[in-house]
Assembly symmetry: C2
Homo-oligomer: 593 residues x 2
Amino acid sequence: MYKAPVEEIAFTLKHVAGMADALDRGLFGELGDDLVDAILAEAGRFASDEVAPLAEIGDRQGARLENGEVRLPDGWKELYRNWAAGGWNALTANEEFGGQALPHMLNVAALEMWNSGSMAFALAPTLTMGAVEALSAHGSPALKDKYLARMVSGEWTGTMNLTEPHAGSDLGAMKTRAERHDDGSYRIFGQKIFITWGEHQATDNIIHLVLARLPDAPAGTRGISLFLVPKYLVNDDGSLGARNDLFCHSLEHKLGIHGSPTCTMIYGDGRHGEEEGAVGWLVGEENKGLACMFTMMNNARLAVGMQGVAICEAATQKAVAFAKERTQGKAPGWTGAGMSPIIEHPDVARTLVTMKALTQGARAICFACAHAIDLSHRSAGEGSRHWQERAALLTPIAKSFATDAGVDVASLGIQVHGGMGFIEETGAARYLRDARIAPIYEGTNGIQAIDLVTRKLPLSGGDQVRGFIAELQGIVAEVRESNAEGFGTSAARLAAAIADLSVATEWLLAAQGEGRVHEALAGATPYQRLFGLVLTGSYLAKGALATTGDGAEQNRIALCRFAAENLLSETAALKDRVVNGAASLAAARAILA
Amino acid sequence: MYKAPVEEIAFTLKHVAGMADALDRGLFGELGDDLVDAILAEAGRFASDEVAPLAEIGDRQGARLENGEVRLPDGWKELYRNWAAGGWNALTANEEFGGQALPHMLNVAALEMWNSGSMAFALAPTLTMGAVEALSAHGSPALKDKYLARMVSGEWTGTMNLTEPHAGSDLGAMKTRAERHDDGSYRIFGQKIFITWGEHQATDNIIHLVLARLPDAPAGTRGISLFLVPKYLVNDDGSLGARNDLFCHSLEHKLGIHGSPTCTMIYGDGRHGEEEGAVGWLVGEENKGLACMFTMMNNARLAVGMQGVAICEAATQKAVAFAKERTQGKAPGWTGAGMSPIIEHPDVARTLVTMKALTQGARAICFACAHAIDLSHRSAGEGSRHWQERAALLTPIAKSFATDAGVDVASLGIQVHGGMGFIEETGAARYLRDARIAPIYEGTNGIQAIDLVTRKLPLSGGDQVRGFIAELQGIVAEVRESNAEGFGTSAARLAAAIADLSVATEWLLAAQGEGRVHEALAGATPYQRLFGLVLTGSYLAKGALATTGDGAEQNRIALCRFAAENLLSETAALKDRVVNGAASLAAARAILA
């Protein structure tokens, strides 16, 4: 059973991702080390003791649609309410509406643990937090007053309604329409698919944020507006009014995250409500809906990245525990009686250490991204702009590297379990089933790569990424200076990997500068992985350097060395694909005809 | 819907894997080109038109245990009977018992197509063929006379009973026991798990081959005997007699291959049968049961490799079709109206071409392995020994590379489908769920790697693998000589990859020679993948060289170039892991404590 790795998380937050420094500088107000530890410990306890025990039943029963209502798995309604009652939904929200205004770093750390407990469950708060963020940034004072406090507290959940059957990654193709109403409200008509936690009975109301198109809107993405559409209308005294004209038409039958209801939502077909159309209110300005969504995009993508980290951690814990218990054969050098635990077999050990390294790397990247988001909010002027860029640069890497790692590590975890891994009751397979959506939603990892190469590399004329690479080179210098024997050839390996990253970066910037966008995009995914691997090595080194004088230090150094000497060797191939791969891909394109 | 790639398969068999030469030399008797094509076409038709349409219902309904009997998915009983009536079970078996004595190459090609149609369904014949093979090689004349003809025809299916809860990869830990009976028969008592198609109603009888231990057997793997244990006893006139004392206790709830009943079998608990214990007959000699199993190991492992190829092909077909239909966004350079098909996006094209290359590579490796098996049976003296070694060397690579590719390609296929890939009705997720068992059963891919490094590399003092590598270098020379422009840098890339393979091979041979087995095993999995990648590149080149003067030639050259310039770059990292990776793995071992 999953046990939240509270100490490891705290260490990574503080000493790898930059929280210790931010605390020292008072950027997080009165927040101190002790409170951070206490919050993490309690979030971890809730994840381990409350969430994780209900994950399996959630997977097995799934969310079910019965008479138009979604029935959650046994115990989940109470679980959600206990979670909200713990104040967890309010960690980062503004104090004005009951939030605790704590750093995002703390929130993503807690999200990791809840997702390790049950990714399907943690999706509910993840979506609500996104809706809170969009509403906080763009809602009118009246809308905020009416809705925000109860969303911040978690009394009501929120959803994001973007996708339609023919408008997934390309929201410009959207057809859901909105009509202006005399009283300043709007009426929404249309169908939305893949709406996470779109309907359920855990809360009295559900606040839908819906993208739709006004009759006179420009075509494409510049003609999309964002609306708040509650399941139940809310009277001015805060009491619930009539049922709004919207409902959950069906639930998807999915590979994983069974406990999370993935709804097809119908707005304005007249089945519910007192008048025609689903009543909604504009959030932000007309036709500026996409900009409102983009506000929360970094956080949402990072939250999905945390799902990847969460699965990595849980799958690794499970595989390590199994490999210690399960005995088969005799490993070379095994002198014990009978068969050896399979963890003694070098190939199994390689698998498990690889899982550990990917987990730690993905976690550090995501926490560094959260740190950048925090500092962008808590710095002034140039500093804010710098950290905004850093967050923007890190977001696609955090999302893609962590979610790819989630799938890979979950799959390795099944492999470690042998035949038992294929049996659902073992639980290892669920991690793979759950993990598999994360590289897809909130922008597929291929789209993250396009975003990274075409929008993020050019930030500040390329100087944001160059500055970041220079920082990584600084870590290499520290490894060299440390002279700690355990690092082996880490410094040289890491330096070579960073050089690969630098070459690939300059090549991509030049290609785009010269209008060879097609060639740059051909290498976008290898580049994105290259960046993630380099960061994994760099952050493992940073963690090793930050530890002193005990077994933990030796372990961190050893993990860094393993990553440097066994995983980073891939960077040369990835760089080569970026720099030399486009021509053969273009030539091979005809094969697909 | 899956359409069997009959032409591609025929081409690969004949011109890449060596069948054309073998036909020319008359090694396959009167078998000619036309008959090969006709058999492949009909096997493909059956796979596409009969098997594939029942795959989805098989997955959804699964096999169910009802009142001690296994109920197959709707239509599967008839499907099996039609399949057997087509004579498909008898392709390779001896003519003495009704077999057609056709090459294994033809059988694995057909297996690929049936597995593409439904891997869960194709498991039934796969297991029966294994049982036929073991019985043919080791059964007494009396046993063969009584059972073989009806197993060859497929009138009865066969099973292999190896695994027990604490004896999976390590069969020495087995506890099922056998007692000698006065009449020369035996009585079997024990529990076996993970028995594929262990119980069903598609045939009147099921012939179980069961490993068990005699009371006076030596400990470990040298004390295991093989028994034939029929579900119904067979009278001397061939009619069915009493029910034997064995039954299916339960079915596993698995990640995939739902239509295939995975049974826990109980032998000799007295619930059925007229006397105590399940009645069985010895196959081969007492305590030599494992040797009997090893006889069929190469074929069984190759058959699992074909499952990997089959999933690759089916998942790729599905993804390519989707990517041509689905429109989203505008790819760079897209000049059509509206959104472009996603296949136009470079990242999607890269994914699809990668899937194609892995599929073709895995197929060619498996067919080459089947060719080696065929020639080992159909050559004399030194030739037979050579091909036996070649088959032995290729088997772990074929099994592991193809099954890893199956998982990777199925996962990429989901990714191409975006959100729809996560929805079960789409069908892309089933491929991943089915594929995930193949790297595990018939010896995990980690065990294949141990086998490759410790048993196969040392064959003929290392000269078998060295000779093979020299052959691959010959392909490079041909690419160089061909001077075809489309190859790009293929020759140089391939030469470098083969050099990596050669260095890693010599290092592993030396390490073992010097007693550093632990270090050799630490690199076994990277080495195995390195070998598979080099073979992929080499066989794609061989196929390209064998085609002349049309669009197909250009396509083959382009795919070879893509593999050479985009996939083979990984070999340097893999070699490095073999040669330099062990020390850091050993140092990191403490992390797992």
